[in-house]
């Protein structure tokens, strides 16, 4: 303890009145009365105290006549004690006689009150300056001076009342300030404990309620924090009839909103005082894990390995077996080791918003590493998608890449631990992301753990795919939790009961629960509640429910009706209980809601939420499931409707969109179809922004069902059509052009009914592009004709019609091998497109045609052989496209062109560009076409025929899966040519046959010259007769020239020239 003044404390008022001599020994003041006299003099703090005042203090209102004399005696006695070295009858220099009374002349600092005030002031000043350690030291010293209530036994006497009250107030303030300082220094657990006692001692001091709530909040005990504030509100109301002050009300709102400033810690320590022992929050207590020694060892092994490489862990088992508990335990150890732990929890209300668990985990990440928020924007705050929806693959890829990059960036500082709970309820997008990360994250120090309920046998879906991709990872671990053995189960039951159980009871519990920790815990609680816990015979005889669900039902029966009602509402909303939301849905105040939930917390059916803004969570998913299952369907529908309304009133609009949609969908039987359809569309829009196309497709398909059911009124038709068009866009992104054809017929029907010509045009274009891509020319060609007519009749300034019409006809002409015509029309389309307004993005059609026009015009010019600088033309295209799909497409077209005109170095280079643009085979159309050409390019570069064939066929399977056909003839033919050159004649023959069949059955003519060339090359390699070969080459040349593919024609000339040398 630092001594501020160098003076020792001799006079003490903070407690009973004491005086010490110079050696520190408490001296005898000669009885209660002299002590009181000294007290009065000390309380005067150096001022003169009138004799009457002293007499009043000692004897009260009616003093005896002897009082003045007796007072003199007391004073003398005191003087002897205070000045032991004073000469008898010498002048007193301490207890000085004044004209009308007495005065104590002592150093102020020798009185503990003064010392306390000096320390308190110093502590306050240090705290204000942010010197927390100094502040804490001074304040603690100040508090240490107190031995009991100030002036102890005298504190209610008139002379002492004022001082005692002032000192007590000051003491309380010092204590609160010191707790505040401690809290700022991160001692949340100590402060939480201390503040709990402090509010009990002084329940009306709002400051300590605030401290308690804040300490709880910072300890991650938000639910308790809110309950503390609710209790403060009740106490203040009951005792004082007052509402809490603004500070408490603000704090409550901030906690509900999880305001960032609540987490702010105090300013950095600047004191140069000797450093105190390092302030370290005690290791947070992990969950109680009983048994599981091998499993914990395995997880620790993974954690150690995860310091230098990414590791994946799967924990699987039946509900209640302790999966989450195990991960929580390892999370505590990881955090203690400096790792950044983030949890993602699947939504358990039956709705599965896209990326839900990842949103939670990534928000935690951004909370710790705000600099990553930009990188994670595509996930957390996706921008509004303008214009056409891109291909699903690349958009999802961008988002997945963003998450992977953020995890890597965070892992560069400290290992990251991502824990995803209850994977069995995960949405498809979440699973895709996991699958992606298993190949993407290799060396980043990261541990990714998931829990899931035991799979059903024979199951095969996105969950098993994600698990399989984890299993492929080296070093991953797969834990299957089974029931605990007798000994462990007995220990666990004792923990649940809070005391040891008799072996017979423990054995009965174990037998009933098969060692399932949650089941046995619930069973023990039920037995305790019903007073059966100590009676093995009763346990054996009692009709104890056989299943955990029935145990939970019986425990719920012990709750008040209000509580169960609120729990049902909460259950419909999900596992986490957000009080504001639940209150809104249950149509009660937050206060009432908290009160209603209290008994469920007491019975431990609801526990604290692991993260804000939730108040608590159902202790187990099974609790929620039992509550939901036991409701009638109409009741559930009504609650879903209220849940939707509550979400709309309180939630984040983006995050809530899919939840609202799911709740309204569940409420459709109540006649809210139109609202549900709106919500589904809104949710789909959010899903598309997050590139969760599969989710969007599901949402829109359901919305469409509701729209159709709404009838045939013009309004309903318009709404249905809008939904349908959105779905068309999403479906095409997801499955390619051809998947939308079934939707288009219905679309046209609706557009005709509405008389919407623009829309019909859009639908025509969609149908044409789908049919042409599939080489379904009987279907595509009549539509293309209509577009040509439109272009011919268009006004010179109607750039939309000119772009579309000439563009469609240009590409149509190319399919049919009229390259010169294609060049002419695509040139006109491009000329018109230059003048398109940038914002003209009507349903994406015009924008898409503009891109196709730009790409195809270069491509057909390349075939025509009239580009001055071929490389430059493609280079300009690359410059103008910032989308990787477009880049892949540019590369694919250049590869195809270079391949058919016989420019192999360029083909090899361009094919490399194409593969580089789509390293993960994510792009449906352009990516797979590239892959097929890349196989030929690989052969041309001296590659192995078997490997090339495998590559080609893999791309081929994927290409055809989306029913694409265009370009196949040329792909087969180039493959045949390169295989021939590689000497694999049998294989080459197969590809040539496929190319010829393709030409004959589909009628896509532009590859015809190359197919003839392939035949000629094969004949030549097989030693065929020169005249036959020459004839084939001449035909190839003539067809190419007639088509206008002059670059191809020149290639044939070169081949003929070479042949002439034979």
């Amino acid at each position: 303890v630092r001594d501020i003044s160098g003076t020792e404390v001799r006079f003490a008022l903070l407690g009973s009145i004491e005086v010490r001599d110079s050696t520190g020994v408490v001296v005898d003041l000669g009885g209660a009365q002299p002590r009181k006299v000294l007290g009065v003099l000390l309380a005067a703090d150096g001022r003169v105290v009138a004799t009457e005042t002293l007499i009043d203090a000692v004897w009260g209102e009616s003093p005896p006549a002897t009082a003045p004399g007796t007072l003199q005696t007391y004073v003398s006695r005191l003087r002897r004690v205070l000045e032991p070295g004073r000469r008898p009858r010498g002048t007193s220099e301490v207890l000085v006689t004044e004209p009308h009374g007495y005065r104590l002349v002592i150093e102020p600092e020798s009185v503990d009150v003064k010392r306390f005030e000096i320390l308190a002031d110093a502590g306050r000043d240090s705290a204000a300056e942010g010197r927390l350690v100094d502040a804490a030291t001074a304040l603690r010293q100040a508090e240490a001076l107190w031995r009991g209530p100030a002036l102890a036994e005298h504190r209610d006497e008139e002379w002492a009342q004022g001082l005692a009250a002032r000192l007590e107030e000051r003491r309380l303030a010092v204590q609160e300030l010191r707790m505040e300082v401690d809290l700022a220094m991160g001692r949340v657990a100590e402060v939480a404990a201390e503040a709990t006692a402090a509010v009990r001692a002084e329940p009306l001091r709002e400051g300590r309620w605030a401290l308690l709530a804040l300490a709880l909040y910072r300890s991650g005990r938000q639910g308790e924090a809110l309950r503390a504030l609710a209790q403060a509100r009740r106490t203040l109301g009951d005792e004082l009839g007052l509402e809490p002050g603004k500070a408490l009300r603000d704090l409550e709102a901030d906690i509900l909103a999880q305001a960032p400033h609540l987490d702010a810690t105090g300013p950095a320590e600047t004191s140069d005082a000797p450093a105190p022992p390092p302030v370290r929050p005690p290791a947070p207590a992990g969950p109680t894990v009983v048994g599981r020694v091998g499993e914990m060892e395995s997880l620790r092994g993974a954690l150690v390995e995860a310091r230098s490489a990414t590791r994946f862990v799967v924990v699987e088992g039946e509900p209640g077996i302790g999966k989450t508990c195990l991960l929580e335990a390892i999370a505590v150890e990881a955090a203690a080791g400096g790792a950044l732990v983030m949890w993602g929890r699947t939504h358990e209300s039956g709705a599965a918003p896209a990326y839900w668990p990842w949103l939670g985990a990534m928000r935690t990440l951004v909370g710790h590493r705000p600099e990553l928020s930009d990188a994670l924007e595509p996930l957390l705050d996706p921008a509004v998608v303008a214009g056409p929806v891109g291909e699903a693959g690349p958009a999802g890829f961008r988002l997945h890449e963003a998450v992977a990059g953020a995890l890597e960036a965070a892992a560069a500082h400290a290992p990251v631990v991502v824990l995803l709970d209850d994977l069995q309820w995960a949405d498809a997008a979440t699973l895709d992301l996991i699958t992606f990360l298993t190949t993407r994250l290799v060396d980043a120090p990261a541990l990714i753990g998931v829990t899931l309920r035991t799979l059903e046998l024979g199951r095969s879906d996105a969950v098993t795919t994600a698990l399989s991709s984890i299993a492929r990872r080296p070093g991953s671990r797969r834990l299957r939790l089974r029931g605990l053995d007798d000994a462990d189960a007995a220990e666990l039951a004792a923990v649940a009961a809070g005391r040891p159980l008799t072996p017979a009871v423990a054995a009965a519990v174990h037998a009933r629960s098969s060692g399932n920790p949650f089941f046995s815990g619930e069973l023990v609680r039920l037995l305790a509640e019903e007073g059966l816990l100590d009676d093995a015979q009763a346990v054996a005889d009692a009709p104890v429910p056989a299943g955990v669900g029935d145990v939970l039902r019986r425990r719920l029966d012990h709750l008040p009706d209000d509580t169960v009602e609120v729990l049902r509402v909460a259950a419909v909303l999900g596992r986490d209980i957000e009080v504001r939301l639940v209150a809104a849905a249950a149509d009660c105040t937050v206060e009432e809601c908290l009160d209603a939930l209290e008994p469920a917390v007491t019975l431990r059916l609801v526990t604290d939420a692991p993260e804000p803004p939730a108040f608590g969570r159902f202790a187990h998913a099974l609790v929620r499931e039992v509550l939901v299952e036991d409701m009638t369907t109409p009741k559930r529908a009504r609650l879903h409707l209220r849940a939707a309304d509550a979400l709309l009133a309180t939630g984040d609009p983006d995050d809530a969109a899919e939840l609202v949609a799911e709740h309204l969908w569940a409420a459709v039987p109540l006649g809210v179809g139109a609202r549900a359809a709106d919500a589904l569309e809104r949710a789909a829009e959010v899903a598309v922004r997050r590139a969760a196309f599969a989710t969007a497709e599901d949402l829109l398909t359901r919305a469409l069902t509701l729209r159709r059911a709404a009838g045939n009124s013009p309004d309903a038709t318009g709404l249905e059509l809008t939904t349908l068009m959105t779905l068309t866009g999403v479906t095409r992104s997801l499955h390619g052009f051809n998947a939308v054809l079934p939707l288009l017929d219905r679309g046209k029907e609706l557009a005709v009914r509405l008389g919407d010509d623009d829309l019909l045009l859009n639908l025509d274009w969609a149908e044409w592009s789908a049919a042409a891509t599939a080489c379904d020319f009987p279907r595509a060609d009549p539509i293309a004709e209509r577009f040509r007519t439109m272009a011919e009749q268009a006004a010179p300034d109607d750039v939309v019609e000119l772009t579309l019409g000439h563009g469609v006809w240009g590409i149509h002409s190319w399919h049919h091998g009229r390259i010169d015509e294609a060049v002419a029309h695509l040139d006109r389309s491009r000329a018109a497109a230059v003048n398109l307004p940038a914002a003209h993005m009507v349903l994406g059609m015009v924008a898409e045609q503009r891109m196709l026009t730009e790409l195809f015009s270069v491509f057909v010019h390349d075939l025509a052989g009239d580009l001055d600088e071929v490389g430059l033309a493609y280079e300009r295209l690359v410059q103008s496209q910032d989308d990787r799909v477009a880049l892949a497409m540019v590369a694919g077209l250049e590869t195809a062109a270079a391949m058919v005109v016989g420019d192999m170095p360029r083909a090899i280079r361009a094919s490399g560009d194409g593969l580089a643009a789509d390293p993960d085979d994510a792009f449906g159309f352009s990516g797979t076409l590239n892959q097929m050409y890349a196989a030929s390019a690989a052969l041309a570069g001296g590659g192995d025929p078997d490997a090339a064939i495998a590559m080609f066929e893999e791309g081929h399977v994927r290409y055809q899966r989306s029913r694409n056909r265009t370009g196949l003839g040329s792909a087969y033919a180039t493959m045949a040519i390169e295989l021939t050159r590689a000497g694999a004649l049998d294989r080459a023959k197969g590809y040539l046959t496929r190319a010829q069949d393709e030409l004959r059955t589909r009628g896509e003519r532009w590859p015809e010259p190359v197919i003839l060339l392939a035949e000629a090359e094969l004949q030549s390699a097989e030693g065929g007769s020169v005249p036959v070969i020459r004839e084939l080459l001449e035909r190839a040349r003539d067809v190419a020239a007639q088509q206008g593919s002059h670059a191809i024609a020149r290639r044939m000339e070169r081949a003929l020239h070479a042949l002439g040398g034979r």
């Binding site: 395995s298 095969s460 399989s468 299993a471 492929r472």
Partner: protein, 420 residues
């Protein structure tokens, strides 16, 4: 047309029994392991030595009977009808081990178990390169290849044939070895031609082989996807001396198992296994250091005569769609297959020893199910074919099948003709 069998002549020429359809023992001898093949020959000659085979061959030639041979009934066999004489060579089961030359000479009716026992008795540290099942006959399994648990370390059974004794269709006994009738030796080692006569004995080279680390890890069937995915991912890292397979078993209990045999240093095999053990706890772990002669017990395929439907395919990769199709085929609702085995054969097929399986793919897949009755076999086969078609649709299969794995009548019989 029932031809007279002239059995008295045959009986006079044979030292072993000659059984007519009415005789005791006829029924017991006519059916092999695969119950689809029901022989109804005019007579069965139970050969006791090579001269009995000669007699049967000559008798068949003289009276224009077809000749069918049955040893143990495990190989592909042509059904022997009323126009056939069935020669049962199961009595030709003498095994002679020549330790100095490192060879074993075995009778045409010998099972691998006898060869292993003889090799063990010799205590020479030599092992026979047997197929996975040791209860099958040496001749039949060797002629179709003989893919066993030492295949990736030492090759297939047929790679080790160094000699044979055959009875030619005209009754001549021909002895084949590395110096005599070498063209026939190459044919027997997989030249692709059917054996030109009845094989009455084979001489196979033995290989020095220390104890192996072999066994099986079982996992619950719910993990089938993950086990297959993990297995497929790791094929490139598999040590060259390790031969392995995955088995999907309908149970009960349904399970997925990884079987392997490591013929190199035990520590190396154990290290490979330990990675699996770290990944997930197996419900059963039977890996142990074993003698190579005990590998026949590594798998638990049915050993009783059975009505089996099978189909095989070569797999290029174990992608998710392939895995789904396979797992469904065994563990799905009303699954068509009782058992699927996926063998890792890359490296097992030696170059220059005649055609092996027709494709260099890594994985050989065999789907099998046992039909309750003979009549149900075609339906079982049809359902397996549907699984096969689904696999082909994934683009992961390649053409070709493996005779030693597929017992489809007609499909592969011609290659081995009468030597089952």
């Amino acid at each position: 047309v029932i031809r007279p069998a002239h059995l008295p002549d045959l009986r006079a020429a044979s030292s072993g029994a000659v059984l007519a359809p009415d005789d005791d023992g006829y029924d017991a001898r006519r059916s092999g392991w695969d119950r689809r093949i029901v022989h109804r020959p005019a007579a069965i000659v139970v050969a006791r030595d090579v001269r009995d085979v000669v007699a049967a061959v000559e008798h068949a030639g003289r009276h224009q009977f077809d000749l069918a041979v049955q040893a143990t009934g495990h190989g592909p066999v042509r059904r022997a009808g009323a126009t056939a004489l069935l020669v049962d060579v199961s009595g030709l089961d003498v095994v002679t081990v020549d330790e100095r030359a490192g060879t074993a000479t075995v009778g045409g009716g010998t099972r691998w178990t006898s060869v292993q026992a003889a090799a063990d008795r010799a205590r020479s540290g030599l092992a026979a390169i047997a197929p996975a099942h040791h209860r099958v006959g040496v001749t039949g399994s060797t002629l179709v290849g003989g893919f066993g648990w030492l295949a990736r370390a030492h090759g297939m059974s047929r790679d080790h044939v160094v000699g044979a004794e055959l009875v030619m269709p005209w009754g001549e006994i021909v002895r084949v070895d590395t110096d005599h009738h070498t063209e026939m030796l190459w044919a027997l080692r997989g030249g692709g031609a059917p054996a030109p006569g009845v094989i009455t004995s084979l001489t196979v080279a033995l290989v020095p082989q220390a104890d192996v680390y072999a066994g099986e890890l079982s996992y619950p069937a719910e993990l089938a996807h993950e086990v297959l995915a993990r297995y497929g991912e790791r094929l490139a890292e598999v040590p060259p001396a390790l031969t392995s397979a995955i088995v999907l078993d309908a149970g009960p209990p349904p399970r997925v198992a990884m079987r392997a045999c490591h013929a190199g240093p035990v520590a190396e095999g154990r290290a490979w296994l330990d990675e699996w053990r770290r990944w997930a706890e197996a419900t059963d772990d039977r890996f142990a250091v074993r003698s190579a002669s005990t590998l026949g017990g590594l798998d638990d395929d049915p050993t009783d005569p059975t009505a089996l439907a099978t189909t095989t395919a070569w797999l290029r990769r174990l992608s998710d769609d392939v895995i789904s199709a396979l797992a469904r085929a065994v563990h799905g609702h009303d699954a068509p297959a009782r058992r699927i085995e996926i063998r890792h054969v890359a490296g097992a097929v030696r170059s220059g020893v005649g055609p092996g399986p027709s494709d260099p793919s890594d994985l050989l897949l065999r789907l099998a199910t046992t039909a309750p009755t003979l009549a149900a076999v075609p339906e079982a086969e049809r359902r397996l074919a549907a699984v096969h078609a689904a696999l082909v649709a994934t683009g992961a299969t390649t053409s070709g099948s493996y005779a030693g794995f597929s017992a489809r009548p007609g499909a592969t019989v011609d290659r081995v003709d009468a030597n089952g």
